[in-house]
Amino acid sequence: MIHVRGLRKDYPGGPRALDAVDLDIGPGEFVALIGPSGAGKSTLLRCLNGLVTPTAGEVRIGDEAVTGASPEALRRVRARIGFVFQQFNLLRRLTVLENTLLGRLAHASRWRSLVGWFEPAEVAKARAILVRVGLDGLAGRRVDTLSGGQQQRVAIARALLQGPAVVLADEPMSSLDPALAHTVMEFLRRINEEDGITVVASLHVLELAQAYGRRVIGLSRGRVVHDGPPSSLDAAATARIFGSASA
């Protein structure tokens, strides 16, 4: 499903963010991406949907290339990839329903979507997803009146409405308190198991990675230093990922 070869990313004036990353993630996998902050987790996730252009290397989603894709092809790939952000990244003055419907922009008629007219069938689908994430009754509310946990569920609803094959989640719970973090992770697990959506979630809490990931990939200074099931995360592996200080 996700194929990464020789991925490298240099930011001007900064250290190398990603270095010689090779990865293959199959359909339906649930991958926890762990590593200390600055290890390159966000950069890797953003390379997967082309929000960041890598310096070198290749990314493919299914049989579509992300690296070197035309703008049109890139939009097609992105439409199949839901992205859940740490800071939710909702349009705070828009309603819950409007924010959710933004997940349909790539499918909606271009000109109609510019005036804010969405097909009744799409609106119905959006409402159904809002019920699923437990936000029914809040469709007309402005998102800036919601709690953090509710806002992250709007963001997940937006990603789900895309009808994605893959959901990438960049520390989706680190702006939330621990109880809510579990709700969000639980929901990612459900869409993985019930809908067969491939999920790659970066996490900075080791316990969450062990509890939810069925495969744990460890990044350190831009390199993959661990790849295996949660049970393989022994003291030596965590030391490789987080450095001996936190092991």
């Binding site: 929000l51 939009r75 939710f88 349009l91 933004l102």
Partner: protein, 250 residues
């Protein structure tokens, strides 16, 4: 800041105030001598002469019209100017020139522009409209550019990540962050422009100010009082309506 330099700063500030007060001939005794005249002035205004109410309302209407047209055209002109003067939207050379030009033009107030435009296009409300328009365009452009610079990149990135086209990203990622603020700034300027347009008549640029000045010159205080009351009512109504509207926008 050391105690010594702080003391020196206070000496400079107090010195500047004292010097300015002396040079502007501030005088408590002259103020007290003037009190009976102020009282006399007020007394002669009562009762207001309501027979000039028609003129007052005509002037008030024209003041509103000057503010409406001037603000509306300025809001449109300020859009490209605002983007040109936003650090994150314009190339550096354009940003630099736009900012400098806006700062220069904004240093001149509406009334000064009115003098200029009365000389250029003659008396009447039209030079008033031009004056309001030029000053408001520069002020709004500055406010717009600050809103553009404060845009959150996260939601823009999120809309792009759904596979949206650049036009859709602009419509759904950028505009929802800007439009309510732009409207709010514009309404606020409309409020202040009512006040600014009210004195444009003093220099022959139309509106209610013409009647205030005319009646005061003719020493017709009761008539001037009526016009002033209409102006106060007008400003209060516009302030109230506009601030209610703005509270709903943001």
């Amino acid at each position: 800041m050391s105690p010594g330099s702080r003391g020196a700063a206070w000496v400079v500030i107090l010195g500047a105030i004292a010097w300015s007060a002396v040079e502007t001939e501030v005088s408590a005794s002259r103020m007290i001598e003037g009190l009976p005249f102020m009282w006399d002035f007020m007394r002669r205004m009562v009762p207001p002469d309501l027979s000039v109410l028609g003129n007052a309302l005509r002037g008030a209407t024209e003041t509103i019209q000057i503010a409406v047209v001037g603000t509306a055209v300025a809001a449109v002109l300020a859009l490209p100017l605002g983007f040109a003067a936003a650090r994150n939207a314009a190339p550096p050379w354009l940003f630099y020139w736009a900012r400098s030009l806006l700062n220069a033009f904004r240093a001149v107030d509406t009334l000064v522009y009115a003098l200029f435009f009365v000389a250029a296009v003659g008396l009447g409300p039209f030079p008033g409209v031009l004056a309001v328009m030029v000053y408001t365009a520069t002020v709004l452009a500055k406010l717009y550019s600050e809103a553009i610079e404060a845009i959150e990149p996260g939601p823009v990135e999120a809309v792009r990540a759904t596979g949206a086209t650049e036009l859709q990203v602009l419509r759904w990622g950028v505009l929802p962050q800007l439009v309510p603020q732009f409207l709010s700034f514009t309404l606020y300027r409309f409020e202040t422009n009512i006040r600014a347009a009210a004195v444009l008549g003093f220099v022959g640029a139309g509106g209610i100010g013409f009647y205030i000045q005319t009646y005061l010159r003719l020493l017709n205080y009761p008539a001037a009082a009526t016009v002033l009351l209409v102006l106060i009512g007008l400003v209060m109504i516009v302030d109230f309506a506009s601030s209610r509207l703005r509270a709903r926008l943001i």
